[in-house]
Amino acid sequence: MTIVNNHSDALTLRGIEKRFGELVAVKRLSLSFRRGEVHALLGENGAGKSTLMNVAAGFLTPDEGEIEVGGQRLGFGSPRASLAAGIGMVHQHFRLVEKFTVAENLAVGADDVSSISTPRQLIERARLLAEKFDISVDPASPVWALSEGEKQRVEILRTMSRGARVLILDEPTAVLTPDEATRLCTNLRAMAAEGTTIIFISHKLNEVLSVADRISVMRHGSLLETRERSDSTVATLSKMMFAEHETGTNQLGHRQRDSGEEILIVSHLSADDDRGVPALDDVSFVVRQREIVGVVGVAGNGQKELEQLVTGDRRPQEGSVTIDARPIDGIRSAIKAGLAYIPEDRKGTGLVPSQSIWRNAILRNYLEQPVNRHGIIRGRHARSFASELVARVELSTSDTATLVHQLSGGNAQKLLAGRELEQRRRIVVAVNPTQGLDIKAAEAVRTSLSDACDNGLAILLISADLDEALGLADRILVLYEGRVVGEFTAHDADRDHIGMLMGGARQ
């Protein structure tokens, strides 16, 4: 008998492929995790990190490939089977029963709880578990009363108490305060030292460099490279993470324009996020007519708050936003001032998926002539308006009665962009406008943005895709931890330098 497996490997993924419709989220990926290591899985949003790990933990069934745990092949698509094999996952959104106590949450689905137990016995059991795994929790407290960090510890303790030898954490620091994050990293190192394999999904370079033994970088569903931490720096990792696409977006060619008057003025903007933690710190910039300004950064560095502030969906702690010198203090005032908005969540925030194309097409002008007369929407005019729009943006269907949820992502985005990018608007805020689109659809959306800009619109492009920003924008701002840490024009933009700034390197 030959030993094929390296016995220090706790978990091996071989040729895993996972598709969602046409989208290939993970492409024939193979990766091994060693016993007792902290292994970071690094990549941009949408790189396929979470999908891959949901497959490993049994929450998703892959289309191809196999999983091996300690030399045994594992069946697919059952969290129970994966847990029994020693693979547990803590999701980004915690899966706890808010009304239950910590002790009750730890007991749910646990086979070692005796079939009849008093609350007191469950609390005692939880106390012993906390001691055994050296994770401090308050067993009698209801979960709703806990902080995010405490909830996370309950999740980790639950997973460990089920016998997990491989612990997967999906962006574990995203909801934590800096103190809690530091404490988590210390705990994870200690657990790894005891022999547990920790898989740490993240897109934060500094964090990964401080906690991981090895780092695997993923992009577009593929594994680029696995490196030892000692061979890695912010520079090498960011270069990989943000490396140029094979299908070069910069082939699009950047257009020369003469920008006009200042349309959007953001001055000294500071704001907190939903947790009350500062998210933006003294951000100032302007966007002029016939100018595309790209804001780049790793997700979670203040882009979301900036987007909400500019569209009037969030109030700043300090500073102000004006469009055409009109102050923005709410969504309505932003729209009145001439805001057009292409949100990231195109079929949720941007369009009404359960409604037809024509109803979605008139959402910006349903109060105006000729679509509306005397307060009544005239179906014939609305439909002919929609037909023109559909023809202009070259949708795959010409039937305006088609429901939007039946459209592909690309067609939905064309419809949304076509509706928003019209002459009377002053500024467009576009957020990851080509995310999840195929190459052709992405190209069409980029072209329509460029055309709209040539025709006099100001465009604020908030993108997680550096290549897209480089290809489209006249100026690029780099956002890191809520501050603008770099500004480049289209001519002096150096992608490696920008990548490093995005990763938190000092300028």
Binding site: V97, G109, S115
Partner: protein, 309 residues
């Protein structure tokens, strides 16, 4: 009011609460897993007829109850498969199944209208207790099923609050993702309890035909399934309050007889609608109290379909 009438009224209130009590306890268990069976009225009706027909042909009320449990369980399982497994709309499917149940039982029962049950659920005078003056005849000369029925919520409370299995059920109804992550079969247990709740509602229906009304008329449940459904909401999903709710509605339903016997000058129609009006009033009161306490007591995932991933 004379004592005899009062005693008879209390006894009657208790016995007529039995069907609602059994059905509501079953529905409570279903709802704890996050599914509500809005077709409860239809399930009771199916159970009522199945129990009655088997009683007629076998001459055994016990076999009748058994048949009612099987028929109610299967009918509810049909609802469960359509809603839980295929994730369709609970209300639309529920209402459709009630109409199906009403049509089918009406058709199958036509030739038996007015016929009496062959074997009725016997009365059991509890030894000693039933001989206590006043209290005895009021409380302790009930049908066997009535005594069992009051134990059901107690058993449900024990199951939910003291057992590992109960904890798992509640987790499914509160946060199915959490239960799934812990390796509990969300869909499996939801189906199982939909069936169990259906069996109990079926028995509740047969208690009406074999113990309370004791014969067959079309639509014999007359809204008791809906009342059981309301009792669960009234209870705040606590088994103890299911008992209180069921007896409260039982009391309302015998108030008409009391009024008639005492010659109150209130039209009998008023007393007929009283349980239904009472349902509405009590629900409003309950909602108001709950808001004042600031506590949300329903299972957080009640009525929500479960998808993984």
């Amino acid at each position: 009011m004379n004592d005899t009438l009062l005693v008879a009224s209390i006894a009657s209130a208790i016995s007529s609460s039995t069907a609602v009590l059994i059905a509501a306890t079953g529905e409570l268990l279903v709802e704890k897993t996050g599914v509500y069976n809005i077709a409860l009225e239809g399930v009771m009706l199916v159970g009522a007829l199945a129990g009655f027909l088997v009683d007629l042909s076998s001459g055994s009320w016990l076999l009748g109850l058994l048949a009612a449990a099987v028929a109610g369980g299967l009918f509810a399982l049909l609802y469960g498969v359509i809603t839980v497994l295929f994730r369709t709309d609970l209300i639309v499917v529920g209402v459709a199944l009630i109409l199906v149940a009403q049509g089918v039982t009406d058709t199958l029962g036509t030739s038996h209208v007015g016929q009496s049950a062959k074997s009725v659920i016997p009365i059991w005078n509890l030894p000693l207790l039933s001989r206590i003056p006043f209290v005895g005849p009021a409380l302790f000369r009930q049908s066997i099923v009535t005594y069992v029925a009051i134990l059901l919520p107690v058993g449900a409370a024990y199951l939910l609050n003291r057992t590992r299995h109960g904890l798992n059920i509640k987790a499914i109804g509160e946060n199915p993702e959490a239960a799934d992550t812990s390796g509990i079969s969300v869909i499996g247990w939801r189906l199982f309890y939909t069936g169990v709740g259906g069996a109990m509602a079926g028995i509740g229906g047969a208690v009406i035909t074999l113990g309370i009304v004791k014969d067959w008329v079309s639509d014999v449940t007359a809204g008791e399934g809906w009342i059981a459904f309301a009792v669960v909401f009234f209870s705040g999903w606590q088994p103890g309050w299911v008992i209180a709710g069921a007896y409260f509605f039982g009391a309302l339903s015998v108030l008409g007889d009391v009024g008639q016997a005492l010659g109150w000058s209130i039209p009998s129609e008023f007393f007929t609608v009283l349980p239904y009006i009472g349902t509405i009033l009590v629900m409003i009161l309950r909602a108001w109290l709950q808001r004042r306490r600031g506590a949300v007591s329903w299972p957080a995932a009640l009525g929500l379909p479960f998808y993984r991933g």
